[in-house]
């Protein structure tokens, strides 16, 4: 049975006040449209989990949705800091936020534990760092074999993950290419998964290249077909990163009022991603499109 629905309905069904949330995608395929829909539906007290909070969580924090941020690098990639995150962390505005902090590797290992149903995951991480003193979910563990030690992290198991991919069938079997990030782990670790894609495809397309499948229907509860759903992040082969938007966020978010204006214009002022894209305008979208460069084909063979 098809799981295809609208982002409005997916968020309305899947995301409750107080939930822990992982909007996945390391730089690539960040689910901005889902974030905006969560803001529009006025969810509060969320635990926002993401290795890189990025603009998407800065926007959710600015809109007052957050009670806690679990993260490993809270900056504007290649640009600087996240103004709304800093206001919340330093001044408690618009909400106080609790922080749970990891390194990237530690964060990913915690997701790996969650995805694997393991009580902990070892890593050679945090060594010599002050971070373990400030996070009870990081512990030193001795090796049972010989004289060696590691740090271990407890599992991260979000209530809801939103993940994106380039294409999926109606059941949620998805092909994803380019940077994979922590998308698969987030989908496996979460209780409920919203999968948003640039394009819907046939199950046959998925089955033609099973090595390209990163998420299977088993993990997915809702499928949302939403072209440009990652703007100003990107979708490999579909559109590039809108660097202008990242650069200008520094100014937009620097001030409480300008960020409110921005939210009014780009989130509250549109009904859905389609309207957002219309507001962006065709030219800006077209400017982000790469030239075509297909991967060299592979023959899977037909075996009878």
């Amino acid at each position: 049975m098809s799981k295809v629905t609208s982002m409005h309905d997916a968020v309305a069904t899947a995301v409750d006040d107080g939930d822990s949330l992982y909007l996945a995608g390391f730089t690539h395929l960040i689910p901005f449209a889902a974030g905006h829909e969560i803001i529009r539906q006025g969810r509060t007290d969320l635990e926002l989990i993401r290795a890189t909070p990025d603009l998407i969580y800065d926007q959710l924090i600015a809109a007052g949705c957050a009670r806690k941020v679990t993260f490993s690098w809270a900056g504007n990639p290649g640009v600087g800091s996240l103004p709304a995150f800093r206001r919340a962390a330093e001044e408690g505005y618009p909400t106080e936020i609790e922080l749970e902090e990891y390194t990237h590797f530690g964060m990913i290992a915690a997701l790996e534990a969650g995805a694997s149903n393991l009580p902990f995951m070892p890593l050679r991480g945090f060594i010599g760092s002050d971070l373990p003193d400030h996070n009870d979910n990081i512990a030193r563990v001795e090796s049972p074999f010989g004289d060696d030690y590691v740090y271990a992290v407890a599992p991260i198991e979000p209530d809801v993950a939103v993940v994106r991919a380039q294409r999926a069938d109606e059941n949620g079997n998805a092909h994803l290419w380019g940077i994979q990030g922590e998308v698969k782990l987030a989908a496996l670790a979460a209780d409920t998964v919203i999968l948003s894609v640039e394009e819907q495809c046939s199950e046959e397309t998925i089955r033609s290249d099973p090595n390209r499948t990163v998420i299977t229907a088993d993990e997915v509860d809702h499928v949302v077909v939403e072209p440009y759903g990652s703007h100003p992040s990107y979708a490999q082969g579909y559109y590039g990163r809108d660097n202008e938007a990242y650069l200008s966020w520094a100014e937009t978010a620097a001030d409480r009022d300008t960020v409110e204006e921005w939210l009014d214009e780009w989130v509250y002022g549109v009904d859905d991603r389609r309207e957002y894209v219309e507001q962006l305008g065709t030219e800006r979208i077209f400017d982000l499109e790469p030239e075509t460069a297909y991967a060299t084909p592979v023959n899977m063979g037909e075996y009878r």
């Binding site: 993260f71 290649g78 590797f105 050679r124 002050d130 971070l131 400030h134 994979q180 990163r241």
Partner: protein, 269 residues
């Protein structure tokens, strides 16, 4: 760059036709060898790697925290996860694999880090200024930095040298240098360690105790300037050098190919 090569070299020496930010990129590039695998950061490290790859280190392999292995970007990326790092890479690994199989397993030779504070043992703070639970400034945090500092063989630190950045002890250790000295690092079971700190004033290295010293001064800098901006009595090499200046080709690469919009460097005329 309208003059011919010989003339320009002369001009460079006498008139300093380059900036210190350009010199930082070039000094960093020269730390790299052709068979290195480098975990590249954005900004100057990326420029440095691309200068090295286009000059003395053509086989340099660039790896990014986003999991792209052997990237070959046509233009400098704005972030470590740009589509141009993925398209044309040799391999793309899920994020866990990059950290787990490449970084942790010791497959990466060099990593570039910055930081809000660097102390006399090369420990780096990129987490908070002030108290962790009540910070004066909340910084972005570790990201990949802590484990890069743990596992690459040679950590390169690129940062401007301001007084606040070089306290005797950092407020928070995000990424380990030599901790309390080379023995401190070894006791934790860590190999490698910081190799060089490259600032707008000079290139610094670490002595046998794991303590920072100034190895070369940039032509525009003085000992006093460095000492006055450093939170402890910093050592200078007995044979203190002057940092070698950029060549024309290095400057041309930065200005024309790699950073024509001056996003990451201030450029001289």
């Amino acid at each position: 760059m309208t003059t011919d090569e010989t003339e320009t070299t002369t001009e460079t020496d006498t008139e300093r036709a380059y900036t210190n930010s350009e010199l930082m990129v070039v000094a960093a590039a020269r730390e790299l060898e052709s068979d290195d695998s480098v975990l590249v950061g954005i900004g100057k490290p990326n420029l440095a790697c691309n200068v090295a790859k286009r000059t003395h280190a053509p086989e340099l392999r660039m790896v990014y925290e986003s999991g792209t292995i052997g990237s070959n970007p046509k233009t400098p990326p704005l972030s470590i996860g740009d589509p141009g790092l993925a398209a044309g890479a040799l391999s793309i690994e899920p994020m866990r694999n990059g950290f787990n199989y490449y970084l942790q397993a010791g497959r990466l030779d060099v990593g570039f880090l910055g930081g809000a504070q660097i102390d006399r043992y090369g420990n780096i703070n990129s987490t908070v200024i002030g108290d962790y639970d009540d910070p004066i400034v909340r910084l972005p945090g570790s990201g990949g930095a802590c484990e890069i500092a743990c596992h690459v063989n040679r950590t390169m630190i690129i940062t401007p040298h301001t007084e606040r950045r070089f306290p005797e002890e950092v407020d928070f250790i995000t990424s380990p240098g030599y901790v309390g000295g080379r023995e401190g690092r070894a006791e934790l079971g860590l190999d490698g360690g910081p190799e060089a700190v490259i600032t707008d004033l000079g290139v610094y290295r670490f002595n046998d105790d794991g303590e920072l010293y100034v190895d070369s001064l940039h032509p525009s800098a003085t000992r006093d300037e460095i000492q006055s901006k450093t939170g402890w009595e910093i050592e200078f090499a007995d044979d203190l050098q002057q940092t070698a200046e950029p060549t024309d080709e290095e400057l041309r690469l930065i200005r024309e190919e790699l950073d024509p919009e001056e996003l990451y460097t201030d450029q001289a005329e």
